[in-house]
Symmetry: C2
Subunit: 217 residues, 2 copies
């Protein structure tokens, strides 16, 4: 199906490839995803990837960046007006935000899924991009954690606390296959709201407990 009009379908193939790439890469990861699968879903020829992007790797980069930018728009609603609210509320918001992107089936979640993929299986070429994508989120979380734990908390302790929170969130996504086997209902009909509330409550109590202790290391 070639471009039949002059304007609004210009670069239509490129756009379709970008959408399909995000879908396939998020689903199968970089290695397992095949260009033929992507092109099939995009109703494009395999050579189109080479023509429009320069190769599979470049397409992956483009798709990642595309969904990253796409996701930035939705980032604003929970991030900025934070400083005033209490840490507990902000933590709940952070978890909910993160989890929503990870578990919601729609397209805007692909970026988070791509990121989750990168966390397990980095493509190596994307280190910079991962840093650019993860660092902001982690800094946001760090502020929350630091507020709960106290400003004097040693660095490693804060980091471990952050990782405990992140771990619970990403787990529900990338361990989905096993959850499917063990507790199917948690993945088939995931009550994101309930899960988020659980993680937030669990984590806040965990963080709160760490606050009092003067950790060694």
């Amino acid at each position: 199906m070639r471009a039949t009009s002059s304007d609004y379908e210009r670069d239509a193939t490129r756009k379709r490839l970008l959408l399909a790439a995000g879908e396939v890469f998020a689903e199968h990861g970089f290695q397992h995803a095949t260009v033929r699968d992507i092109c099939h879903r995009a109703q494009a020829n395999v050579a189109a990837i080479q023509y429009h992007f320069g190769g599979k790797t470049a397409l992956y980069h483009a798709a990642f960046r595309y969904w990253f930018d796409e996701s930035q728009a939705l980032f604003a609603d929970t991030a900025p007006s934070d400083r005033a609210r209490p840490a507990k509320t902000r933590l709940a918001a952070f978890v909910m935000f993160f989890l929503k992107r990870l578990l919601s089936p729609g397209k805007p979640a692909w970026h988070a899924k791509l990121m989750a993929r990168e966390m397990v299986e980095p493509t190596g070429v994307l280190e910079v991009m991962v840093n650019a994508a993860m660092k902001p989120m982690l800094m946001q979380l760090e502020a929350i954690v630091r507020e709960i734990l106290g400003p004097q908390t040693p660095r490693v302790k804060v980091e471990r606390a952050m990782l405990s929170v992140v771990a619970q969130c990403v787990f529900y996504h990338h361990s989905r296959p096993v959850l499917q086997l063990l507790y199917p209902q948690h993945v088939n009909e995931p009550d994101i709201q309930a899960i988020a509330e659980h993680i937030a409550a669990f984590s806040y109590a965990g963080l709160h407990a760490l606050r009092t202790k003067r950790g060694r290391a």
Copy 2:
């Protein structure tokens, strides 16, 4: 290097393949691992896999089962004498046990790493095996969690709590690449003892907090 003696080197190739397979599969996962790599490390011919096991998949099964059995011996030291000790201690022991296998560099850890691999990327043929390997551990954890949360706690609530604990443990292993980029010291010189204590303390507080609340779902 063929078998030069009659007895103690009998099936030496098969054994070497098994060891090398555990190493390579644990490191690269099933898909990314190549039989040539395995055979090279085992100093064996590529056809040896076909001859001794019947193929890559069968070798994977054999390696998984081998390291699973191998790991069962070390299972005994922490598992049986539990019932008497308080839940908090048992939780700490569970975390320490799980984490040690996941993070220690030696061979006995391969089974846990293979299991962690399966959690992210199941081979499909191993569902039964995964269940056999994971279920016991999870039941052990379930007993601990249930004791803390109370016997009347609804099923989903217990499951989510268990997953929160497991998530923190596996995170340190399978998100290693990103941790390498963000917080290198946590992976280069992992203080397993400290990490385990953190997760245990964090989780116990989280569990304890869930106890009082009458959760809706």
